[in-house]
């Protein structure tokens, strides 16, 4: 069981190896990546920023809760921050478990909780040169950054 906020490229293979165990019947890997298009706009990259100490604390709490809830110590999560290019991994979640159902449920639990609770933000850069903070609570999804005053909650 381990979690970290890191500023280097993530290595899914290393995390998969880290949770591997002959007591496990299944391992799952979740890799979140920077997508080329979001809300119909051409994305060229994403800056991830975190409230570091709290993000680490929340991430650790999620992993501990998943471990307790699904019954495996073999959960490792790394979230990357900084400037990420298209296709690069922002998060990797590796789980292994004696049983496949729990390996998959733990994976899903961790990513959903991360999205809800961990104080990390992302600013998308678009092909037209603009950039915006992504607000998953907004109707349309992104809050303009830099020009924050122009944003509306109805976006």
């Amino acid at each position: 069981m381990r979690s970290a906020i890191v500023e280097r490229p993530l290595d899914p293979t290393a995390l998969l190896a880290e949770v591997a165990d002959t007591g496990s019947g299944a391992s799952t890997l979740f890799v979140g990546t920077v997508r080329r298009v979001n809300q119909g706009r051409d994305v060229t990259g994403i800056d991830y920023t975190a409230y570091g100490p709290m993000a680490e604390r929340e991430l650790a709490a999620i992993v501990a809760a998943a471990s307790e809830r699904f019954g495996t110590e073999r959960i490792v999560v790394e979230h990357r921050i900084g400037a990420l290019a298209l296709g690069e991994a922002s998060i990797v979640i590796a789980v292994s478990h004696a049983r496949r159902a729990q390996a998959m449920e733990a994976q899903r639990y961790v990513i959903e909780e991360v999205k809800k609770r961990v104080p990390i933000w992302k600013r998308e850069h678009y092909a037209d040169g603009t950039r915006e903070w992504v607000d998953p609570t907004a109707a349309g999804a992104a809050i303009p950054a830099g020009t924050a005053r122009a944003a509306t909650g109805a976006q």
């Binding site: 100490p53 979230h79 999205k115 609770r117 104080p119 992504v134 809050i143």
Partner: protein, 89 residues
């Protein structure tokens, strides 16, 4: 608001941490002065007044790196952070 004179300072001076769109609007730390006994809601109201007219997303507030309720009291030395809608993962 209840507090005992002499044991509680009359004002709280706080450095509030800001992130993402709130940091763009106000800077990454903001100094806030509030009456002793103020709550998380008071901190947020004070900051919201400085960005009135803008449409920043409604944030949560963390006290000492944990999510706090609006009614939670702030104390001297607390680490207060404004947490706009998170978008990790």
């Amino acid at each position: 608001m209840l507090y005992r004179w002499g044991t509680m300072p009359q004002t709280l001076s706080l450095n509030v941490l800001l992130f993402a769109s709130w940091a763009d609007a106000l800077g990454s730390t903001v100094r806030v002065e509030l009456p002793a006994g103020s709550t998380v809601a008071d901190v947020l109201a004070s900051l919201s007044a400085r960005v009135s007219g803008s449409a920043l997303p409604t944030p949560l507030v963390a006290v000492n790196q944990r999510y706090a309720r609006p009614s939670d009291r702030i104390a001297v030395g607390d680490e207060i952070a404004i947490i706009p809608p998170v978008a990790g993962g």
